[in-house]
Amino acid sequence: MPSGSTMETTMLQYEFMRIALIVGILLAIAVPIIGVTVVLKRLSMIGDALSHASMAGILVGLLLNFNPILGAMLISLIAALSIEFIRKRFERYAELSIAIITSAGLGLAAVLLGFVSNATNFNSFLFGSIVSITTFEFIMVIVVTFMIIGVALILYRSLFFMAFDEEAAKLSGIKTGWINLIFTILTALVVSLASRTVGALIVSSLMVIPVTCSLVVGRSYLQVVLYSALFGVFFMIAGLMLSFYQGVKSGGSIVMVGIVTLVVLMVIKGVMKRIKA
């Protein structure tokens, strides 16, 4: 259909949309790559916990008068390290540790919100504002994304081995403590950046829905990683286009594209199983 290409040209005419698209695509690669390890370690809700912590961090920044995104990164980092600390010490309560940090982040945000006189900045953080990010945030997104892609490549085998069986990985000589630390830091950073851009309420979805779709179609670990990034990018572009042309919130439309895709994939897989059987 020729009308498709003219529509894209229209969207890309705007500088803010071009930047939004670049930032969106980078995060749509980085967040699902992190998501693979997170989902396979059964820590799916960590995105939620860290985005709530980021909300509290943004408020700390607003109140104490320094760059809110730095506040978000800082508090998100503290939250992520706390989760990892609790997870290591109380292995059976990994999920509980995430619930506690989620509550702590939300509680802190609720209390701090009372002290903020101008809440518009905070609203944009809840739902994200990918079209109005600062140069500093833009650079941070690029840096963190390339760090995540680099780590995913260099530590591919270690992350795979650790997700599969952390103890066996450790016995094979992999420095699991260091790798967990690096991974935790990157998770915290990317979640706080994604919170700012696609919205704190959306990050968790961007982390797990592409991975879930890949689990439906992937036939190997490598495929699951690659497909997760591809699904992420597809949801992002489709979501941003929907948002631009239909005037809906970008965060919501990204998630809805993902959910619809997941349902379609599951239906197709179900039908194929029937046919084969």
């Binding site: 085998r157 081995f161 599969f164 699951v224």
Partner: protein, 230 residues
Amino acid sequence: MEKTVIDVRDVSFSYGNNLVLDKVSLQVMKGDFFAITGANGSGKSTLIRLILGLLKTQSGSITVLGEAVASFSQHAQLGYVAQKGLSHSFGFPASVYEVVGLPLKTVFSASKRQARHQKIMAALAQVNMQDFSKRMISELSGGQLQRVLIARELILNPKILFLDEPTNGLDSPMIHELFEILHTLNRKNQMTVLLITHSDEQLRENITHTILIEDHHAVRIDHGDNHVAV
């Protein structure tokens, strides 16, 4: 000439106030097919985890391949298939080929691709699973998955293979096949095998030494059925 590969001396261990092992000693020689048996909760897994360095000894000493466990460096020489293996791997999205290749460091190296492939297929052949390399591990039966996890440990050709209740959840033909494989590794490849097992019938044929953990102590079971305290 017999050579001690595992030397456990007067090792005691408690979880908090719960004393599990009390002055346990045992020696495993090169080429042994060594079994540890005992009731549920008697401390078999704890003992194996102490030997592997996954738990720190509280008193006594453990040497593996001539090195103190605390500063052990020859990771590639030890293979370990944990007790949780099966349930833990359930539903994980990976192919058999990928899982067996995990200990090899050359994942994306194009030049080492062929060598890597041969090692993976050879390890799979040792456990009669060479036809399953493209399967996802979530599509395997318990016995097949157990063999894949053993193949993963075999790929670096370890000197000692540790298995914690590898027969759990397997039916008796599968147990038989597993013991055949372990026996071959032990006899033909001179691999020392140390396993924890309940299935006594299988114990008799291939196993060279058995230790029973009872009342926090290790009791050596002679294969003529006399109990001799160690």
